[in-house]
């Protein structure tokens, strides 16, 4: 059968692919607010959710959107929203509530350039640190970054799965190019994507501890309307979920929400490696930039420079394992990012001087070109 006739081959946009991934993962509630370049996700969900027994709502702003998905998740839904920089800024306070109260939900952030209104239709990777540190107070977050349209489907499913498994918000970081780019995608067979579900309490209501933080086991999550009544609060709370100011309970809670994620950095790490075995120059990259970096690796190899690419799909928590293993063999690590230097700070911290780390930033709203990265690497190598 020719590809044209094959119904499973589709030309999809990254944003649509995220919505498809959400459907595959069983997302049945979406609340959002229009914003370029993410609106297609909301449009897709508005069109499709009523057909499968789900519900869509357009809220009055992004603050309300994330509030609604957290509320829906507490009532048992798998819920998601999508936005871009300005909207993501507005979501920060409630993102913190989801972190502290351990409510699963997924936020797709299709990054655009510039602070403030910036360049709504141009790509950037400038929300990496906002994703990690944007909400106030100590917390941790999971953030993933796809590089292809197919990966938008896969990593949306993974985002839902991880949010359910670890009772945490998960941020999927696209950029405008990944969100709007169309690629040919062959849909995998039915049942290809695994998605975890939160565990629900089974015992007596009196024994239920919705906010237990014992060992490394994530507490079960009941649902409003189910057999267990429970309390959810953005105040620091005890294992019952009620506000506490008792120092050891507060300390345990904060350690728990940070460590349940940070301690699993290696386990959560998803990387793609390209020609790293013998490489002396490592390009460390993610998102659409990694596609360009890969082309640059080929160019550099043609020119006799032993380059390789380490592409991270899991941005937060960022595992240092592979970087530390590779560092001793490297003459330099180059981190191209569409920002003024964000994830490079983590790379520097992890590598800790074992190899020099160089940042190549681009903030003019345009993608890197392979030539630009290649030229920069050549300059570093010959220096």
């Amino acid at each position: 059968m020719s590809a044209r006739a094959n119904k499973d081959v589709k030309v999809l946009q990254g944003n649509e692919a995220c919505a498809i991934g959400a459907i595959a993962a069983g997302v049945n509630f979406f609340a959002g607010y229009p914003i370029t370049p993410s609106s297609e996700v909301a449009e897709f969900m508005a069109r499709h959710l009523p057909l499968i027994g789900g519900r869509f709502i357009q809220m009055e702003d992004e603050i309300a959107s994330i509030a609604a998905i957290i509320g829906a998740s507490i009532a048992g839904s798998r819920s998601m929203t999508a936005t871009s920089g300005p909207g993501f800024s507005l979501m920060q306070e409630n993102l913190g509530l989801a972190c502290l109260a351990e409510i699963p939900c997924v936020i797709i952030n299709v990054q655009r350039a510039g602070p403030s209104t910036g360049l709504p239709t141009q790509p950037a990777q400038a929300d990496v640190m906002q994703t990690r540190w944007g909400t106030h107070g100590d917390h941790a977050i999971i953030a993933l970054a796809p590089s292809t349209v197919l990966e938008c489907i896969e990593l949306t499913v993974t985002s839902v799965s991880l949010s359910e498994k670890y009772r945490t918000p998960v941020v999927l970081l696209l950029d405008e190019v990944i969100g709007h780019m169309r690629e040919s995608v062959t849909l995998p067979a039915a049942g290809s994507y695994h998605c975890d579900s939160r565990t629900v309490p089974e015992g007596d209501e009196e024994d239920y501890r919705p906010a237990a933080c014992v060992g490394d086991e994530v507490a079960t999550l009941a649902r409003f309307g189910g057999p267990h009544r429970f309390h959810v609060t953005g105040l620091t709370h005890d294992p019952h979920g009620f506000p506490t100011m008792v120092p050891h309970e507060v300390d345990a809670k904060i350690h728990w929400i940070v460590e349940k994620i940070e301690s699993r950095a290696d386990q959560l790490a998803m990387n793609e490696e390209f020609m790293v075995e013998d490489c002396e120059v490592l390009l460390f990259s993610y998102g659409s930039t990694a596609r360009v970096a890969k082309a640059s690796v080929r160019q550099l190899r043609d020119q006799g420079i032993k380059a390789g690419l380490l592409r991270v799909k899991t941005i937060w928590p960022l595992s240092g394992k592979r970087l530390k293993e590779l560092a001793p063999q490297l003459k330099t690590i180059v981190v191209p990012e569409m920002n003024m230097g964000q994830l490079v700070l983590e790379v520097e911290r992890i590598v800790a001087g074992v190899a020099p780390v160089r940042h190549l930033g681009r903030v003019d709203g345009r993608l890197f070109t392979p030539d630009q990265i290649t030229e920069f690497v050549r300059g570093e190598v010959s220096a």
Binding site: L51, G71, A75, S79
Partner: protein
């Protein structure tokens, strides 16, 4: 055991320490006990109630009410409540908010919740001040009255919360005060029974943060003010604007039977599942393929 004690034992969380965080003389306890009486009278199972709040003194109400309870961020109770209700429509969703919470930081959510007509009961405890933070002026602090951030009298003019709700399209709007307890019971009952978005504005008193700054001698003095300065809608009909100056009206301002959001949405969804138009059946087929990419069974919302 008296009825009041029985209600309290049944509908207050058993392991929460009392007294509440609220100061002596505060009206919030009156509102909460009225809510408990109504829930008890309507015999709503506790598991079928979700009490949602934002931040502030009123925000603490869910901590005590024995139901599913959600204490959210400042101003956002209705946005969270919207998600809860859409995910689980069988729940009676009650949002308890103060005036600052509902009308200042949460003002945008408030008007849009009124407009959408989702079946949520919104209680606005209006004590004309930010109590928890110590008495700063709020959107309902009357012009000229004092707050810690209006030390020489409020320069701004206040909102009429009920008029705002009516203007924004709420299908049930009523107002009373914590002095008029029987009326409060009646109005809360009507609001909870109403299918659609309902707002009950309850004029309340904060002696600690508002009363003392504005020369009230005691909480009782404030209750007296409510008694003497409120009129029923019926009484108001025969009064001139001059006579009504400085007084608030009580009663049901709006009671419209409008299609509720979820009813309308679900009816549309139902139509789509049987729509024989080629475009729709094509859409159904594609979505099925997408759903099946995952290994989990189809989930439906409540």
């Amino acid at each position: 055991m008296s009825k009041a004690i029985e209600t309290a034992r049944t509908y207050l969380k058993p392991h929460k320490k009392l007294p509440t965080v609220w100061c002596g003389g505060c009206g919030l306890g009156v509102i909460m006990s009225s809510l408990l009486r109504v829930i008890s009278k309507l015999e709503i199972p506790k598991n079928d109630i979700a009490t949602v709040s934002g931040i502030g003194c009123t925000g603490r109400m869910p901590t005590y009410v024995d139901s599913n309870t959600l204490h959210t961020t400042h101003g956002r109770a209705l946005a969270f409540a919207t998600g809860v209700k859409l995910a689980s429509p069988k729940l009676h969703v009650i949002a308890a908010m103060g005036d600052g919470d509902a009308l200042a930081i949460g003002g945008n959510h408030f008007i849009h919740a009124c407009r959408r007509n989702i079946d949520i009961t919104a209680i606005v405890a209006n004590n004309c001040i930010y109590g928890m933070t110590g008495g700063q002026y709020s959107p309902t602090t009357p012009h000229g009255k004092r707050g810690t951030t209006a030390p020489y009298g409020n320069v701004e003019h206040e909102f009429d919360a009920s008029a705002l709700a009516a203007g924004a399209g709420a299908s049930f709007v009523a107002r009373t005060s914590v002095y008029h307890v029987r009326e409060l019971d009646k109005l809360l009952e009507a609001a909870i029974k109403h299918r659609g978005f309902s707002v009950v504005e309850v004029m309340s008193n904060c002696y600690t943060s508002y009363g003392r700054l504005n020369k009230y001698k005691s909480p009782v003095d404030m209750f007296r003010w409510m008694k003497e300065n409120s009129v029923t809608l019926k009484q108001a009909e025969t009064m001139s604007p001059e006579e009504l100056e400085g007084k608030f009206t009580r009663g049901v301002f709006v009671e419209n039977y409008m299609p509720e959001f979820i009813q309308v949405y679900d009816a549309l969804a139902e139509q789509l599942t049987t729509d024989s138009a080629a475009a729709v059946s094509q859409l159904r087929e594609t979505i099925k393929r997408y759903e099946q990419l995952g290994d989990r069974l189809k989930t439906r919302v409540g």
